[in-house]
């Protein structure tokens, strides 16, 4: 283990090539994983380029509200006669952008706190982990609801920021336990013995070996963030400043009465399907990553 990771410079390029070949093999073994990757990439494309296909103000039509599914409007229209598919596509940007911000904050905060905690141990570790525990115990959704009274999350970046600040606990825990286990195997001492600096040990040796754990926990955090923000908008405690899947759900259920009449059902189902599809994609990708990075499964 340690030899493989320590000899980094010369073999790095071959290792990288082998890695990508391994990724490809794992992907091919279960085609569903390829589907997962395609779904996730598709959503990314939709978030970045999707809104460009539509005008800033979607055309509405007061004579054609809550239209049923048809060739023209695949998922019907909303309460203002706007096309639901267009709403889902333009709404994806807010959802995905804030998820991206959450992901970055989660990874940066979680990794640095976890590394610091596992590396220093002792008093700092205890204090930080108590804090993490406490954050993990405070009920997340009620806290978000209460916070919504003072913070209106006007932009996707703000929303992502808050969710990231609340969500780094899981990654921190995972990184810390990884650091501790590498430590226990004499890994850090060995690197020290070779005269490597702390920055080198952390940056070149520790981080690469736990990248998979970080990535996996990040994906889980992102999924949670998507659910949380869509849920917050759905509950209607935030002003509808942006077009967003949660706003769509809220309007469909509490405005269009999707729980009592069938007219607004397609309007409600479209964002639900988008969420389900995104979840499926992420689950499949996590499954693939699990196998790529799990040495036990990789060997044969």
């Amino acid at each position: 283990m340690s030899t493989v990771i320590l000899e980094s410079a010369g073999t790095a390029s071959t290792m990288r090539r082998n890695f990508w070949r391994g990724v490809w093999r794992v992907m091919l073994r279960k085609p569903s994983r390829l589907v997962g990757a395609v779904i996730v990439l598709g959503f990314a494309f939709m978030g970045v380029f999707g809104p460009m296909f539509y005008p800033d103000l979607l055309p509405h039509n007061a004579d054609n509200i809550y239209a049923p599914m048809s060739g023209e409007h695949w998922f019907g229209t909303d309460g203002q006669g706007r096309d639901v598919v267009a709403l889902v596509v333009t709404g994806s940007r807010y959802v995905l952008l804030s998820a991206l911000v959450t992901a970055i904050i989660t990874v940066v905060l979680g990794t640095s706190i976890g590394l610091f905690s596992g590396f220093k141990r002792g008093r700092w570790d205890t204090v930080l982990m108590r804090l993490t525990d406490m954050k993990l115990t405070i009920p997340g959704l009620p806290l978000l609801l209460v916070l919504s009274t003072v913070w209106k999350f006007g932009s996707a970046v703000e929303m992502g920021l808050l969710l990231g600040l609340l969500g780094w606990g899981g990654v921190a825990r995972a990184v810390r336990s990884q650091t501790l286990s590498l430590r226990e195997r004499g890994f850090i001492e060995a690197a020290r013995g070779l005269g490597l600096s702390t920055t080198h040990i952390v940056g070149k040796e520790l981080l690469p070996s736990m990248a998979p754990y970080i990535a996996m926990n990040m994906l889980i955090a992102v999924t949670g963030a998507v659910y949380a923000q869509v849920g917050l908008f759905f509950l209607g405690v935030l002003p509808y400043e942006a077009n967003n899947w949660g706003v769509m759900l809220n309007l469909a259920v509490f405005g269009g009465g999707a729980m009592t009449t069938t007219a607004a059902l397609p309007y409600m189902l479209a964002p639900l399907l988008a969420i389900l599809l995104l979840t499926l994609g992420i689950v499949l990708v996590v499954d693939a990553m699990d196998e790529i990075f799990n040495p036990r499964l990789r060997e044969e």
Binding site: M134, I138, M259, T260, T261, T262, L276
Partner: protein
């Protein structure tokens, strides 16, 4: 015994800190809400002709602290109110103390969630055993996949789908409150029947949403125990299958009881989406209502109650674990 006492003391101390932190968050949020509702209220009372003393008293009763004095003074007032179980007065329910409103809503949350949790625990655990035993077969695959999917999907997606199917498309189950208003609340068949009918969707949705977690947890627990040496040992000693099955079951379910105790902490706050979607007037519904109606004392109280439930469940889970696992009970040196 001393081990348990020490652990309990540690948990209690941490729990108290948690509650204090949450109360502090509530205080600062209420105080910093844009537009300062407390000062506005006070101002309104003065304008309405009340004496400054009367206005102060009325505001203090409502929010637990006065809009005057240093921040520290206000904070202390608020906290000391908490220690007397005085959470202020609800604005939306004029004259009713927050504690009373909370108690009224709590029963509509606790019973369905408790029922839903136990239902999903039971079904999830039994199917989890099957998923573990048949893990190489088709049935095991189907069970595991159904578990992962249900576990991965957020609660509100499930609730909305359930609602769409059972109240919109085939209107067989109601999703409007706790019972039809034409029945007189009381112990009569019509009312109770209506209660059950209205509780079905919330309970089943809650059970479905948590079932996936149980089946996955039980499966991995059983698989772990199956690999333990003592199971092979029992087999090589010629123990009966039924005996070995009991050994596996008891060892595998042990960690799940802890999760069960922890998940009971969600009794008060675990069904916000479900209550909102099915218009079920529990604590989650109340929390959202209090936010939309700017009833901040009620909001703070609901948030606090939800947190306290989690803290209490944490403590109970730990106590419970020390009772059922002999290893925790007697090892003194384990920290």
């Amino acid at each position: 015994m001393t081990v348990i006492a020490r652990r309990l003391a540690g948990h209690l101390a941490r729990g108290i800190v948690m509650v204090l932190v949450v109360a502090t968050i509530s205080f600062f949020i209420i105080r910093n809400i844009p537009g300062d509702p407390i000062a506005a209220r006070y101002q309104k009372l003065i304008e309405g002709g009340a004496s400054p003393e009367a206005a102060e008293r009325a505001t203090a009763v409502m929010y637990g602290f006065l809009p005057k004095g240093t921040l520290w003074q206000q904070y202390l007032d608020y906290m000391s109110g908490l220690f007397h179980f005085d959470l202020g007065i609800s604005v939306t329910n004029p004259g009713t103390p927050v504690t009373e409103v909370l108690a009224g809503a709590a029963k509509w949350t606790v019973l369905p969630v408790l029922f839903g949790t136990l239902l999903s625990f039971l079904v999830g655990v039994i199917l989890g055993v099957y998923a573990a035993v048949k893990r190489t077969g088709k049935l095991g695959d189907v069970l595991a996949v159904s578990g992962s999917l249900l576990h991965g999907v957020p609660q509100y997606v499930l609730a909305l789908l359930m609602g769409a199917i059972f109240t919109t498309l085939l209107p067989i189950l109601p999703s409007d409150g706790t019972a039809d208003i034409l029945y007189e609340p009381g112990f009569n068949a019509g009312y109770i029947g209506s209660l059950v009918e209205h509780a079905t969707l919330p309970v089943v949705t809650y059970a479905l949403a948590s079932y996936g977690g149980w089946i996955l947890a039980m499966k991995s627990s059983v698989v772990t125990v199956l690999g333990d040496d003592f199971i092979l040992a029992a087999e090589l000693r010629g123990m009966k299958r039924s005996v070995i099955f009991r050994y596996i079951a008891r060892n595998a379910i042990l960690p799940l009881f802890t999760i069960l105790a922890l998940s009971l902490g969600l009794l008060f706050g675990g069904s916000i989406f479900i209550e909102r979607i099915f218009n079920y007037p529990g604590l989650g519904f109340l929390l959202i209502d209090s936010i939309t109606n700017r009833d901040y004392a009620l909001m703070g109280g609901a948030f606090l109650l939800i947190t306290v439930a989690i803290v209490v469940a944490n403590i109970l889970a730990d106590l419970f674990y020390s009772v059922i696992d002999p290893r925790v009970r007697s090892t003194e040196e384990v920290s």
